[in-house]
Amino acid sequence: MDADLIIIGGGPAGYFAAETAAKEGLSVILFEENQLGGVCLNEGCIPTKSLLNSAKIFSVSKNSEKFGVSANPSFNIIEANKWKDETVIKLRKSLELLMKHNHINLIKKNAKIIGPNTVKTDEEIYKAENILLATGSSFVVPKIPGIENAITSKEVLSLQSIPSSVIIIGGGVIGIELASFFSCLNVEVTVVEMLPEIVPLMDAEMASILRRSMSSVNFLLSSKVEKIEKDTVYLVQDKKELKIKADLIIVATGRRPLIDNESFFSIGLDFSEKGVRTDERMKTNIPGLYAAGDITGRFMLAHAAYRMGQVAVNNICNKKDIMREFALPWVIYSLPEAAGVGLTEEELKKREIPYKKSVVPMRANGRFLAEHGEQPGACKILVYEKTGILAGVHMVGSYASEIISSATVMIECELRDREIKEIIFPHPTVSEIIKDSILGLK
């Protein structure tokens, strides 16, 4: 055996599992042929948050006259990219240090599973008691004629100039964040979504609030793209054919697990195109082989990947742990932000679970009103009718991304409305909206 644990893939699932395992005293080999940090650090969460922040600062300073501030800002994409790149490099370096401090053997090579407990690079074979598969996901590029005229969010990260108009195909999380980025920069934005509402994972009522709060973006819902020609997108909406033009066409139709058919078949792994199947402990059907992160096709979020990696390592170390899904938060870093955790109203209805709900508009919150005026935004709370246990919290409005953690704790701890009522929230903060929503339950 070359190590106690071999991890394939140095993204959030892989590197966090490596760190966790090393701290548990396991010897770890981590294979990553590209940069550490995966999609999240190199072409996803982190760089997009950096660029979005630049765009938001521009937008806020441009629209600050009503707050008594006048400015005539300009946006320099080269500088914004520089800041973004520096951030990514700093985080990447600290990750490399983290691996080094924990004595993790990082091998910068592509590795494939070739048998039980065995992986292979081009030249060598490595064996370990346990293997964690964390090879991530790639862009879904839909089969639309002329799709080569569109770029992905990855290429958006290295734009050298700002277009005057963009069409974004896909109204999911990535599409909405891109729409926010460009609309903050006064770019004319059109979002084309096949479904009748944006962001399918969101509570529908909140998704509608988010969409309406992005008033400068043109949303084409229930619309199917037929073909793309150079700068023109042909689509069908309600049986009507439409033709729209823009400087830049971006495809953001989600991600899918990076399935290695040949190697997975050869070892008898249970998988489908939706991902590698695991149980709640992240065990695959092959003894000693675990999977975590996007490769499982579940959740496709960096923080879910961290947790899956942790669950896998805990089980490898014989510590009982399972991947719980009921308190898994998500965030959209749009302007305004949106976030949620737990069940949506649609899910409760579908499962025929009796519930109580309360929706409080953001403008009822002191700090929000002081800082944003009567901008759209709301907090929706769902509790199980019978027990009063918190089932879901959904928000649109500034700070939602940070506030959602407190709701996550409440749901994880299975707190009930009567307990939450007694929690002290600092005043004035936007987080008080959670308490106010609970108090508003009938």
Binding site: D279, R281, K320, I322, R324, T387, E412, C413, E414, R416
Partner: protein
């Protein structure tokens, strides 16, 4: 360096083992892995191997000694080495039986004394020590054990290392539920959903998704009948094959245009029922019921036959089949089958059989082990008929009532009857 031989722990419940036989004497040269002695637990016998090459310097116990597990029983080393430090501390050696009984009595007495002396606040010794180790004041607890005794669970309820959600805690108190040792929440936190599941969280974790289908209706009756069979019979199955050319010929004849079309609906199954009901009259022990200390042999033969319905297995009964001619058997059988499938059969026609047959021949099955339909004592499984006209029988009989030989004799009679079967005589063809 001398090395000790330790009596290993065999499983969690074995506290001691009896040394059955020493295979080596003191002073013998032994190799690593060679068997030194045999020991016995209450379940099994196993061998103790030498952990090293060397001389067996000392055996600390005699044969028939009962030795606690993890005790040093011998030392391997070089001649002249000092072995005094290996001498086991607890040299409990006792002849097994009488002492065990005395021991049990002693434990019981101690238990009773403790029980009496703690009249006000009864607690099991384990609960007491657990309470001390967890810093729980046992005076503050109320017991949920027998006669209100404070037991492990009661201590764990207030001193568990996993947390519990307020909703789950309330539900436990309200419904007087047992608190699970671990839940599915944060670091094993017990959640409300952990209380609703009857199966342990261990099983729930490992099996993944599943569907629960309630056992009701015919399936519930089948469950009860099967359990009754398993609990009250000692089944033994004989497999037998025999030439069935006479039956195949008969069927071919009936299907041909040479005879009246009234006969064309007679099946192989009908012919087998006809033959079996005649043969059973000569073997009353197989055509019997069992009631407590009574075996009831029947003069007439009522054949139950298994029918697959959309709701599950049903067994309608053809009463006094031995008295019926082949046409009557065929007509009645068809009627019973269609009533079962349509679900409008008179429930009285589903009981009172004296012998049951079950036919898996159509499914290509050769042999199987049919389950006796109590209170009957035998069931005949009919398998597929091969291309060379060989039919396969599987006879399950209740060995409480029927021995192997008479069961075999029945199959032999059946073979003879099939060989003698002549459709032209039975249906009075010319």
């Amino acid at each position: 360096m001398a090395k000790e031989v330790i009596l290993p722990r065999q499983g969690n419940t074995v506290e001691s083992c009896v040394i059955l036989e020493w295979k080596k004497n003191e002073g013998d040269k032994v190799k690593k892995g060679e068997v030194l002695c045999e020991v016995e637990t209450d379940k099994t016998v196993f061998e103790i191997e030498s952990p090293a090459d060397g001389i067996l310097l000392k055996r600390f116990f005699k044969e028939n000694d009962d030795v606690p597990v993890m005790t040093t029983i011998a030392v391997i080393g070089n001649l002249g080495e000092d072995i005094s430090s290996f001498k086991p501390v607890s040299q409990i050696s006792k002849p097994k039986k009488e002492d065990n009984e005395k021991n049990l009595e002693k434990i019981q007495n101690t238990f009773l004394e403790e029980y009496k002396s703690e009249d006000k606040n009864k607690a099991s010794p384990f609960a007491k020590s657990l309470a001390i180790s967890k810093g729980v004041d046992i005076e503050t607890l109320s017991g949920s054990g027998p006669q209100g005794m404070i037991i492990e669970r009661d201590v764990l309820n207030v001193a568990s290392e996993v947390s519990i959600s307020p909703a789950a805690a309330e539900q436990i108190t309200k419904d007087k539920l047992k608190r699970p040792i671990r839940g599915s929440g944060l670091a094993g936190r017990i959640l409300l959903s952990d209380l609703k599941k009857e199966e342990s969280s261990e099983i729930r974790l490992s099996t993944g998704r599943f569907n629960d289908i309630p056992i009701k209706g015919i399936r519930k009756i089948i469950k009860e009948r099967m359990l009754l069979s398993a609990a009250t019979t000692v089944p033994c199955t004989l497999f037998y094959s025999t030439d069935a050319s006479t039956i195949i010929k008969a069927r071919n004849l009936l299907k041909s245009q040479q005879v009246s079309s009234n006969f064309s609906s007679i099946t192989i199954n009908d012919m087998l029922i006809y033959i079996i009901s005649k043969v059973l009259q000569k073997h009353p022990r197989l055509n019997s019921h069992i009631y407590n200390d009574t075996i009831r042999e029947f003069e007439n033969v009522s054949i139950g036959f298994a029918v697959d319905t959309p709701r599950g297995l049903m067994v309608p009964v053809l009463y006094n089949a031995n008295l019926m001619d082949l046409i009557t058997i065929s007509t009645n059988t068809k009627k019973l089958i269609s009533e079962c499938i349509e679900g409008n059969i008179n429930p009285d026609l589903l009981k009172g059989s004296t012998f049951t047959i079950t036919n898996l021949g159509n499914s290509g099955i050769e042999y199987f082990t049919p389950v006796i339909n109590p209170p009957e004592n035998a069931i005949l499984g009919i398998g597929t008929i091969s291309k060379d006209n060989v039919i396969k029988f599987s006879l399950t009989f209740n060995h409480i009532v029927i021995d192997g030989k008479p069961a075999a004799e029945f199959l032999k009679s059946l073979e003879d009857a099939i060989k003698d079967f002549d459709i032209t005589k039975i249906l009075n063809f010319n």
